[in-house]
Every structure is written in C-alpha cells, then in structure tokens.
C-alpha cells in the first residue's frame, strides 16, 4: 500500500494503540494534520500552548501506564514542548512527541521556523530521531514507542521534515520484535545479587524500605506490600512513590525527604538497612549526603544501572525491573518481626501527631491549606485522582491527602514544573474518563495554565480545579522568610478574580474563605456535572513543615511549631 509520510504517521500511531493525542498545528506539520481528517478514530486535542500538550501526554501516560503522544510544528512549536519533555524525562514518563521540521533541503539554512530540535532536546529526551527518508518513518515510530515505554521510561521525540511527510512509500508496519543493538533493558536482577540482598534483609534489625516511582511504573505494588509484611519493615515513599502502598496501611510511613514527616526521616536515619526500590536518591530525599544513612547498609534496586552508586553507594546494587526483582527476592526473605523497631517509630509518630496543625483549633475564618487537603480527602473518601504542580500546595497535598489507591497522584517531582497540574489533569481525564479528577494548584502555577481552561471547555472535560490561593509564590516566599530575612522580592502576586475568570470560560466558579465552607463547596463541585473551579483563599504566610533546609542532614529538621500563629500581614 503506497502511503504518504503523513498517512504513515497516523497508521503507525493506530498500530501503537493511540486513541488520543495533544497538539497544535503549524506550517511544517500541516501535511500530517491534513491527513488526520482520514483518521476519525484518533482524537486530536487542540491545546493552547505546546508545553501543555507535552504535559497532557505526560498526565495521560502516568494515569494509564500507556504512552502519551503530543504533536507540534517546527521552530517555536517544537521549542515550546521542551519544558514538558524535560518534566517527563525527570519523572520517567513515557511520551512520544512528533514535530514537523522544515524540508530536508532547507535543513541547516536557518529557514523560516527552523530549529534544530533534535539538538535542543538531546539532554531532555531518552532518545530522539530526525527522519530524513520516508522509508524509515514507520520503523522509527515503532522504535520510538518501544524506547519510550520499556526500561526506564522517558520521552522520545521524532522530528519529521515536511517533504518526508509528503513523500510516498510502500507502508509496511514492522511486526517483528524491535531490535536495537544498543538498547537492551535488563528485565530481572542478577540472582547472585538478589541472594546477597535477601541475606542482608534477613539479618537486619531496623530495616526501612524506600519505595519510588519505579514501583508504580512496573506495577509492583503487591510485591512491595508482600515484602513489607514479610520482613515487618516500614515503607517510606518518595513524592512520586506516593500510592505505591496505601498510606493508611500500618507499614506505610508516608513521604520522606525535605518535607517528610519527622518520624519518617528519623526512621530512615536510624535504620540499619535501607532497601531502596525504583528511586534515585534525589537531593530532596537525602538531604546532605555526607550525613545520610549513618547506620545503614544499602540495597538499591533500579532498572537504570547508571542510578546505582550515583548519589549513594550501594552495598548491594541490583539492576532490574522492580516487580521482577521483588518476585525474585520474596521467596528468599524470611518472615520476621521487629517489635522494638516499631515501638521506637511509634514514639516518634506520637510526637508528630501532637504537633500536627490538623489537631489544633483555629477560628473558622482561619483557613489553612492543610484544612483544604484534609477536607478534600475526607469529603471524597479519598476516591479521586489528584494532580499537583510544584511548591507548598504540592507538599501539603502529599502530607494531608491520604493516598490509598493506586496511581492516585500525578505531580511534577524531579523537574518541579509550575503549570504542570492543570494540563496533566486533562491528560489523565482522557486516560481515565470515569475517574473523578481534581487539579490542586497554587495561584502562581495556575496563572501559567489559564489558557487551557478554553481547552477544558472545548473538550467538555469534567475536571475540578482547586486553587490554593495564598497570594504568594508560596514556597519561594517560604525560603525568603527562612533564608533571606523575609525579604519578599518578586513573590507577592496579583490574581484576577478567579471566580469571574472561570465564569468567563463558562466554568462554574466558587470561592471558599472559611473552614465551614470547605465541605459544602467540595460537595457542590462534585455534584456539578462539568468543570468547576474553587478559589480557596488560604492564610498567606504559612510554611510547610517539617523542613530539612538545603544542605542539612535529613534528621536535622525544622519541626512544626507546637502552635501555628496565623498571621496575615497584607491585610
């Protein structure tokens, strides 16, 4: 069958199971968009900015476990994708980006809307391709999907010059397994290393399991739980590892790191064995490396060999898929009880509960972001999928929403991208249309995403948006308060009237200023069919605690004050 390059792109996407993609047209990708009219089975979502197309593909990928697809034209269209690609790269999210490019004859001439996008995206993609022959197009797309979804997932970009989209060739989609000589992800762990790891686990007195995104990506939640129960070990999660184990489960210590609970970080620092699975010892998780894990031996399981010994030396490194390695490990692990260790952890936990602002009484009009998170969890019964941006609201959500279901949180962890939550929630909605999806976002980050409100309406997406509005770029303000003598340079920010803004888009807008308004507003938003935006006016100068200041040891936390003084200096 003779097809144009443009038709080959769509035929290939169909064969990769693509039903929806997110994009924005332009000159160099026009032949491909034109051919889309012949493929009604593929739904194209017109975004308002290409960065959000990449974030939507990312949200789709994380919510579904499939590959998300985005499309843009050459030049500015392609460069606008980069923040989304970098976000996906840092968080190991599988997306395929297809960009138009100037015709091959014009390559390198600084033609109109020409950017060397494969050069630009070299360090922020898992791999990328410039396709200069239409004969290579189908095979390249197949390889791109294979690379994006296997091993440690990541974004792959395919740059297709306009003449390649127009040229014709015989279309045959390859069916034999993809064979790339330099790409052979290692599925299972070395049996010898697994035996060594089991021996360490069986001998440990104070073990802690550190669960990362890799558990979720490989679908190893059951195996993680089995390991935790068999060796009676607490499980701390990274931010992206949240929902790898139900947070109500007694073995779960919740999120570790810079804003992890004190008992979580203390358990890690006092452990004699750390079993890290599918996580990469990011600086936000370890604090100062010199004082990290003073007593612990380290077992590090990761599919990416380059992560082993990168930040923290491993006593036993195991390269392999988390699920496969855990399956190898489980039969070798003996059933153990660590009563003393748990008693110690419970001591620490009691102290943390005493300090928790959730248990303190405030006047009704003092609305704190943690109140919003806790009510959102309580009213919805924790049954929703949440997306967050980066900053204070992200940490509060992680601390106060109890994630008991799988793949329940989608957030920008590694790159910390403002403007991620809203498009990610939209991508997630396409992946799981029956799911109730809440985008929890700060007033700063939301203002980076406003244009996509039009997309939400155009696509009739039922998404609930919770703006945690404190009138500041909150986390930056917090750092200014704690480290820059409270000089609030460029962090107070003006907002539009978010309720009116929502109404301008035809979206139901609500405002909440008191604690007693929380539950009714959340209930009303849930009952409303269609998108809702709630402007939660929370206290302005409140900090996220506990906090490990940059460069400090993980156990050297600024704890929650015993009494939060709610101040509002701007009024």
């Amino acid at each position: 069958m003779q097809l144009t390059g443009a038709e080959i792109i769509w035929e290939s996407l169909l064969r990769e199971g693509v039903e929806v993609l997110f994009g924005f047209p332009g000159g160099a990708i026009l032949p491909t968009y034109d051919a889309l009219s012949k493929y009604p089975q593929i739904h194209h979502v017109l975004v308002r900015h290409e960065q959000n197309a990449a974030h939507m593909a990312d949200g789709y990928a994380r919510a579904s476990g499939k590959v998300g697809v985005c499309m843009a034209t050459s030049g500015p269209g392609a460069t606008n994708l980069t923040t989304g690609l970098a976000t996906a790269m840092m968080d190991s999210s599988s997306i395929v980006a297809i960009t138009g490019q100037v015709p091959t004859k014009a390559l390198g001439t600084d033609a109109f809307q020409e950017t060397d996008i494969t050069g630009v995206t070299l360090p922020i993609t898992k791999h990328n391709f410039l396709v200069t022959r239409v004969e290579d197009l189908a095979r390249t797309i197949r390889e791109a999907f294979h690379i994006a979804r296997t091993g440690r997932p990541g974004p792959v970009l395919i740059d297709v010059p306009k003449d390649v989209q127009i040229a014709q060739t015989e279309f045959v989609y390859p069916t034999e397994p993809v064979r790339l000589p330099g790409y052979r992800p290692q599925p299972s762990g070395s049996p010898e290393q697994v035996r060594k790891a089991a021996a360490l686990i069986n001998a440990a007195q104070r073990p802690v399991i550190l669960a990362g995104h890799g558990i979720i990506i490989s679908g190893a939640e059951d195996e993680l739980m089995a390991l935790a129960e068999r060796c009676d070990a607490p499980v701390a999660t990274t931010l992206l590892g949240i929902s790898s184990i139900p947070e109500s489960h007694p073995k779960c210590l919740g999120m570790m790191g810079m804003h992890g609970e004190a008992y979580t970080n203390l358990a890690i620092q006092n452990a004699d064995l750390v079993v890290a699975i599918g996580m990469r010892f990011d600086d936000r998780v370890t604090g100062n490396l010199a004082s990290y894990l003073p007593h612990a031996q380290v077992i590090h399981v990761d599919i990416d060999a380059a992560e082993i010994n990168k930040n923290v030396p491993a006593d036993v490194g195991i390269v392999g898929d988390a699920k496969a390695v855990l399956k190898q490990l489980l039969p070798l692990v003996e059933s153990r009880g660590h009563g003393e260790w748990w008693a110690q952890i419970e001591e620490w936990r009691k102290d943390v509960r005493a300090r928790d602002i959730i248990h303190q009484e405030f006047p009704d009009e003092v609305l704190l972001a943690p109140h919003v998170m806790r009510e959102l969890w309580r009213v919805t019964g924790g049954s929703i999928l949440v997306t967050t941006d980066v900053g204070q609201h992200q940490m509060w959500e992680a601390q106060y929403f109890r994630h008991d279901r799988r793949r329940q949180l989608i957030t920008s962890g590694g790159l910390g991208t403002m403007g991620f939550a809203l498009p990610a929630s939209m991508g997630a909605k396409f992946a799981r249309p029956d799911e109730e999806i809440w985008c929890v976002v700060g007033d700063g980050g939301f203002q980076m995403s406003i244009p996509e409100l039009a997309t939400i309406v155009q696509e009739k997406l039922d998404i609930k948006i919770a703006i945690i509005n404190n009138g500041f770029l909150g986390m930056v303000r917090q750092w200014q308060e704690l480290m820059y003598d409270r000089r609030y340079v460029a962090t107070p920010l003006l907002q539009p009237d978010f309720v009116k803004l929502a109404e301008a888009y035809g979206i139901l807008g609500l405002r909440v200023t008191r604690q007693t308004e929380l539950a009714p507003a959340i209930a009303r938003a849930r009952a409303h069919r269609g998108p809702v935006l709630i402007d939660f006016r929370v206290e302005e100068e409140v900090n996220v605690f506990p906090m490990v200041s940059p460069g400090r040891a993980l156990h050297d936390m600024i704890r929650r004050p015993l009494h939060v003084v709610a101040t509002d200096v701007t009024k």
Binding site: P181, G182, R184, S190, N309, A314, G317, G320
Partner: protein
C-alpha cells in the same frame, strides 16, 4: 588513575554529539576521546580516557550504555591491553642538531617523515608515556607544531567484540553482567 573505556557505537549521524553532550551534561572530565571506523561498517569504535580521580569511570560507563546508539562499553583498564598514541612532532633542526635528534628518534623507534633544511617531522607511536618522553627530549630543540591522536586500545588475545552487539564469538559463555548486575560485553 586513568581509566580506558572502549565503546562500540552505531555509525550514525549525531552519535558523537550524543556522547559529547553526555560528558558535558554529567560534568564528566574526559582526557581523550578517539573515534574511528571498525571492521563492521555500521559500527564505530571510541576509546575514552577518564581521569578516575575526578570522574567516576563506572558512572561514565553506565551513562554511555544508556545512550540508545551505544552498543557496548567496556572498561579495559585492568585487562591486558595494547594501548597506543600517535604523535606528529615538527621540531626545529639544523646541521648541528639534526644528528642528535635522529639519534633520539632512532632510540624511540620513531620515524622521520619529513625533512626540511630547518625542521623535521617526527612520527612516534606508542603508549602515552613513551610519546611524552620523546616529546620532552625534543622540546629543547624547539617544537614548532605538535598533534596527537589520543589513546586507542585493544585487549590482547583472540577474544573480540562482535561489532553487531552480539555476544563475543570466542565461545565464552560467561554472564555479560558483572557483580552489580551491570551489562558488560567482553569475554572475561
């Protein structure tokens, strides 16, 4: 301690950029990098020298392996290897000094490949130390110009890389994974 890595990469446009970009991005300190064709047309071979006191050679190896176009990487530092560097040295020479220079060249089994009334070009091949010593000996005569290839290396014995990334063909069935479960490629 200098580490020598041998990498087989796909002979495709942009692969050198990917490798160079990786070194820059990860802040790896590379002493030398040579690239050449191999006996297999689709495969190029790189020899990379890393100063391990500044850069963790194992991380360089693992990050190189992550590149899709990199077929195989091996740290051959502790293996019996033949390692060579080639230098062309244009040195000032006149009637008085020429004989002495030629004696040095002779002792070091180097070659004179160009002669002018007032200069010579010396070609020397060998391990870096040998090249360096000859260079130091010639320096007092006045070096006009110098170019070196950087190290190329090959493991002794009949074992060979299979250029297509397939296991080595000498029948060695050893696991391609080292103690940490990492992928290697050479026969032990």
């Amino acid at each position: 301690m200098k580490h020598t890595l041998v990498a087989l990469v796909e002979n495709k446009p942009g692969v050198l950029t990917r490798v160079a970009s990786l070194f820059r991005r990860r802040n790896f300190n590379i002493e030398s990098l040579t690239v050449s064709e191999t006996e297999v047309p689709e495969v190029s071979r790189m020899t990379i020298v890393v100063d391990a006191s500044r850069t963790n050679a194992a991380l360089v190896e693992q990050n190189l392996l992550k590149l899709v176009n990199v077929i195989a990487v091996e740290d051959v530092t502790d293996k019996p290897i033949v390692s060579r560097d080639l230098a062309l040295i244009k040195v000032k020479a006149n009637k008085e000094t020429r004989t002495e220079i030629m004696q040095f060249v002779d002792i070091y089994r180097a070659k004179i490949v160009d002669v002018c009334p007032d200069s010579l070009i010396v070609e020397v091949t060998g391990p870096e130390a040998k090249v360096q010593t000859l260079l130091d000996l010639l320096r007092p005569f006045g070096i006009l110009e110098m170019v070196r290839t950087g190290r190329v290396a090959m493991v002794r014995g009949s074992g060979a890389y299979a250029g297509n990334g397939h296991p080595p063909e000498n029948g060695n069935e050893n696991s391609p994974h080292d103690a940490n479960g990492r992928q290697g490629l050479l026969p032990a």
